[in-house]
Symmetry: C2
């Protein structure tokens, strides 16, 4: 990966779909995945192995994961909330599994009904299960509410850094720092991510930003300055957190790719194709809020040239 | 001004109101100004001296400018499209007058029906009139479409830099670099503004960004990195350019102030009061699009503490 290459990881099928009212058919989810791959998005969080009683949208997690594994060129990942979910993900053959805990103990209690410390122990059990039965599977660990929490307010940087260290020692093959509730600002992102990058060493670091308070893309710029080269984003900005009031809105995939490509960075993604997929998906999800400046205003006349110069 | 002090210049009464259907009463405009000053916004572009046949909203330019001059603590400015408008602004006693031309010749023709070169000559005539009749009045010069144009496409950096040099030599006491159509990206902003800052020397430089393609606040961060400490913004994101399709949307004052204050920078502005003014103004302008993430999602729980630490 050259310095100008940036990885975009689509989370619309997971973070996005967990918030919508319409349950998509597995075939629709897989068509969405396949078209994203054609558009150049190779990293997709395709589903979540939560109990279907909690999020009915993901009752087809096994089918979607298996179908995604059959799509050429797709690096499919899934979220798992606990050991049981991880075992299901390993069984279906996924090569990448994400586990998330909250730096805010209060948020963790609300989200998964256990303390952050208990979630750390849970992650260690997932690592052990991976070592026993699914060698080679990459376990990503996400630290949610890393920039503040709607319940607890302030989250001390040292708690986040301590968790990053603990999770890497426990076996995390990747770290994601998440602004779950849209509290982060660019100065805070730069300061925290510089330290996370230095702690993480060779372990890749990604960021997961929400655009709740309009700073999502400014925060991406700050994380880029700190050396981060991987970002979660959601087609049409779908998504949020059911326990964080008003925290709707992952950063928008189309707008993020536009910002990066306009500056000569390389995501490998075709925005025109993203916009076409967005149209199909939004037709499947009537009444859901799709955000996005590029979908509304179109690409600048100057954009094609910026891409040509960068190529 | 310390390094952490950033000047926000409200343009909602000018750039915003020129786009709306409802004509506000002069008393409403002046009440808006007075409340902004109470909220800590001391720099306001209060009106535009265009012919009322072109923009009926500004038929009361003289009354509004005179009323604004009577508001304690307000540094009132006005836009002037030509010598005649400048003379009216000088007569009413304004201490600051803005003139704008476009780096894109095509955009300038469409906007003011003369070439950019003719607009430069026009500016020189305004400077001469100021020297004759209004000594001490600061003449700000804005370079519009500095990052690209919806008509011409690409705008060469060298044209912008040449105009900055020419306008300062001609007597500009301040330079504003404007992304009139929302084409700018952070890397472009940083690269151009570094050069503009270096050319401008002691002449203050401001930026005027639109959020058309979602990059408005990221562009503010890039301009801050380049050393810029003054930004135009519009309450509720009102505004745009009548000749630039889809170019609605100045960066939002509330969101901009939030971004800066959350990072410990000092604008002197109270966001809570801005939100209250926004409610009144939006009630006066039914059906107009008011944007803004903070108005929708509220301030983070962590925000009061960030302000307290910075104070």
């Amino acid at each position: 990966m050259t310095d100008a290459a940036v990885q975009i990881r689509e989370v619309g099928l997971r973070d996005g779909l967990q918030m919508v009212r319409t349950i998509l058919a597995s075939e629709q989810k897989l068509a969405w995945c396949a078209r994203m791959v054609d558009a150049g998005v190779r990293d997709i969080e395709v589903t979540s192995f939560v109990p279907p009683t909690i999020v009915p949208q993901f009752a087809d997690a096994v089918e979607v994961a298996a179908g995604a594994l059959a799509i050429d060129g797709l690096h499919a990942a899934a979220l798992v909330p606990n050991l049981k979910g991880a075992q299901r993900a390993f069984e279906v053959g996924l090569r990448k599994v994400h586990y998330v805990l909250s730096a805010s103990n209060e948020h963790n209690m609300k989200n998964v009904r256990r303390s952050t410390a208990e979630s750390v122990e849970d992650f260690a059990r997932i690592v052990a299960a991976r070592d026993d039965t699914a060698g080679g599977v990459v376990l990503g660990a996400g630290v949610a509410t890393a920039f503040g929490c709607t319940i607890a307010g302030e989250v001390d940087e040292r708690i986040v850094l301590g968790l990053v260290e603990t999770l890497i020692e426990a076996g995390a093959g990747e770290i994601t720092i998440a602004d779950t509730v849209g509290y982060a600002n660019p100065a805070q992102v730069y300061a925290l991510l510089r330290q996370v990058m230095s702690l993480a060493g060779d372990v890749p670091v990604a960021c997961h930003f929400h655009d709740t308070r309009g700073l999502g893309l400014a925060n991406v710029m700050a994380a880029l300055d700190a050396g981060v080269r991987a970002f979660d984003a959601s087609l049409g900005g779908l998504g949020g957190c059911p326990f964080a009031p008003n925290a709707t809105g992952n950063i928008n995939t189309e707008d993020t790719v536009f910002m990066l490509e306009a500056q000569g960075m390389n995501t490998g993604i075709d925005i025109g194709e993203l916009l076409a997929i967005r149209e199909s998906v939004s037709a499947w999800l009537p009444g859901e809020p799709f955000t996005g400046a590029i979908a509304r205003a179109g690409l600048p006349k100057t954009f094609a040239r910026a891409e040509a110069v960068a190529a």
